[in-house]
């Protein structure tokens, strides 16, 4: 795994190539997910590009969130969930039992539907991850990590004067950006977002979308959204899920102007049902 990671850092450091030449970051092969007896995901294979935003859309219950949670093995925390298939990240199968999900999750950040800042200070919210992973070796270094993360999340200017204030005191949109900053702080390679704006109003949503667009330059971002408009706005690639299956996957522009599959077309144009 050591070698893999090295490989990774190399491709990463080769600056921000254009999106077209972006290499595959996550390669999912034949993923099935069962909740107890119920099959939630059926044989999904999908390649997710680095340094771009991939959106998962589909009607509720289509399995898009479930699939997203495979990528950082959050399904492990659900007792009855069973995941089969392989997910390669930089060549290593993360579903391999030898992979420690704890380490994996430090490489694959996640942002949830409802903003969930820890009931700590803004500073500690950000510092939490680096601290448990030992990423900063002193107060000064930690300060730097915190500032950088907040800057990247576009929150620095708004909170720099009140870092010791509790994170829960921020507005909804700010909280969500704080959660994104928190995810960034452990220097992940992939950031998963599970309907990150569904609890926010249009303005806060727009701000998050703007942020996502900025983050795209450094991270591989996967976003689940039930708003097609949002998928259209923020993503470069869109995957359409239906009944636990992947129906269509391709460039967002194409999906929204000229989808190949009838089901996709029906869903996008509001003809389902």
């Amino acid at each position: 795994m050591d070698g893999n990671m090295e490989h990774f850092t190399q491709t990463k450091s080769s600056a921000r190539a254009d999106a077209a030449s972006a290499p595959i970051k996550v390669d999912c092969q034949n993923i099935d997910v069962y909740y107890g007896d119920k099959q939630a995901i059926e044989d999904i294979s999908l390649e997710i590009e680095d340094r771009s935003v991939t959106a998962f859309i589909g009607p509720s219950g289509c399995g898009k969130s479930t699939f997203l949670r495979c990528i950082n093995r959050m399904n492990d925390t659900i007792e009855s969930a069973k995941v089969t298939g392989k997910i390669f990240m930089d060549g290593a199968n993360i579903n391999d039992p030898s992979i420690d999900p704890v380490l994996l999750r430090s490489r694959v950040g996640m942002v949830f539907q409802k903003p969930n800042p820890f009931p700590k200070s803004i500073y500690d919210n950000i510092a939490y991850g680096p601290r448990i992973h030992g990423l900063a070796s002193g107060k000064a270094e930690m300060d730097e990590v915190v500032e950088n993360s907040l800057r990247k999340a576009g929150l620095w200017e708004e909170v720099k004067d009140r870092l010791p204030a509790p994170g829960t005191g921020l507005s909804g949109g700010q909280q969500q950006r704080l959660c994104i900053a928190r995810a960034i702080a452990v220097s992940p390679e992939v950031i998963l977002m599970d309907e990150p704006c569904s609890a926010l109003d249009p303005i806060a949503t727009a701000k998050i979308e703007e942020l996502i667009d900025e983050l795209r330059e450094r991270y591989c971002i996967v976003i689940v959204t039930h708003s097609m408009q949002q998928a259209a706005r923020v993503s470069q690639k869109t995957a359409f899920f239906h009944l636990g299956k992947l129906i269509e996957y391709g460039d967002t522009e194409r999906i929204f102007t000229n989808p190949e599959h009838g089901r996709t077309q029906d869903y996008i144009t509001g003809r389902f049902g």
């Binding site: 259209a232 102007t257 000229n258 989808p259 996709t264 077309q265 996008i268 144009t269 509001g270 003809r271």
Partner: protein, 234 residues
């Protein structure tokens, strides 16, 4: 394609397309009437054609409004979006066809009635071809038929040929009888207008092609060919 869950959306789309077809029908009749007015030197008819353009213009205004409304309020996606954008092009083209017909009718008023019959016949023949092309184009819009659309594109070559020969012919008449230069020039412009109507019919076919396949109307190859149609020589 099944209906939208929100039936009002389907209704609006259908209403738009019906409107366009109505416009197309009007334009078609204008082409025929304008050419008949030229052929029979029927100034009444010519004046009527001129008036009729107003109807098309109004329909276009309405169609454009409906389109803006659809885009602003319904956020059409995928096929729907293409249909709406295509309709926008269509409306523009049909409106232009109306204008061109009106122009033919207006020029008809400038004629003196004793123009070279052959040239007038040529105009009539050409207008028949153009009208047929438009009819085909509208038909392929109605049926969303890309095969038919391709035929329409091919038909445009014939019309261009028509125009070129008419142009040459009229030029000859002009040289023969310089007194006729004024009215013959009008005939040339009429022919040119008909040729332009053909181009617009072609555009309609291209728009249909785009609507159905999602492939750019302005695809380099087709585009360049059509742009060249501008001039009568190649």
């Amino acid at each position: 394609m099944p209906d939208h869950i929100v039936t009002a959306f389907t209704d609006e789309l259908e209403h738009l397309s019906a409107n366009l077809l109505r416009m197309g029908g009007l334009a078609e009749s204008m082409i025929m009437d304008a050419s008949r007015a030229v052929a029979t030197f029927d100034l009444e008819l010519a004046r009527e054609v001129i008036k009729r353009d107003r109807a098309i213009d109004e329909l276009e205004v309405e169609a454009e409004k409906a389109i803006i409304r659809l885009i602003a309020l319904r956020h059409p996606m995928a096929g729907d979006l293409r249909a709406v954008l295509g309709a926008m092009k269509l409306a523009g083209d049909i409106e232009r066809i109306g204008d061109l017909c009106k122009n033919i009718a207006k020029r008809c008023l400038e004629l003196n009635g004793d123009e070279n019959r052959a040239a007038v016949k040529g105009i009539e023949r050409m207008s028949r071809a153009v009208s047929h092309q438009l009819q085909m184009a509208l038909d392929c819009y109605l049926r969303q038929d890309i095969e038919a659309a391709k035929t329409v594109l091919d038909m445009d070559d014939d019309i261009d040929d028509h125009y070129t020969s008419l142009f040459r012919e009229t030029l000859t008449y002009m040289m023969e009888d310089p007194r006729q230069i004024g009215s013959n020039t009008h005939l040339i412009f009429m022919a040119k207008n008909l040729e332009r109507i053909g181009d617009h019919a072609t555009n309609i076919a291209k728009a249909v092609y785009y609507m159905v396949t999602g492939e750019a109307t302005t695809g380099a190859k087709v585009e360049s060919r059509l742009a060249d149609d501008e001039g009568e020589q190649r």
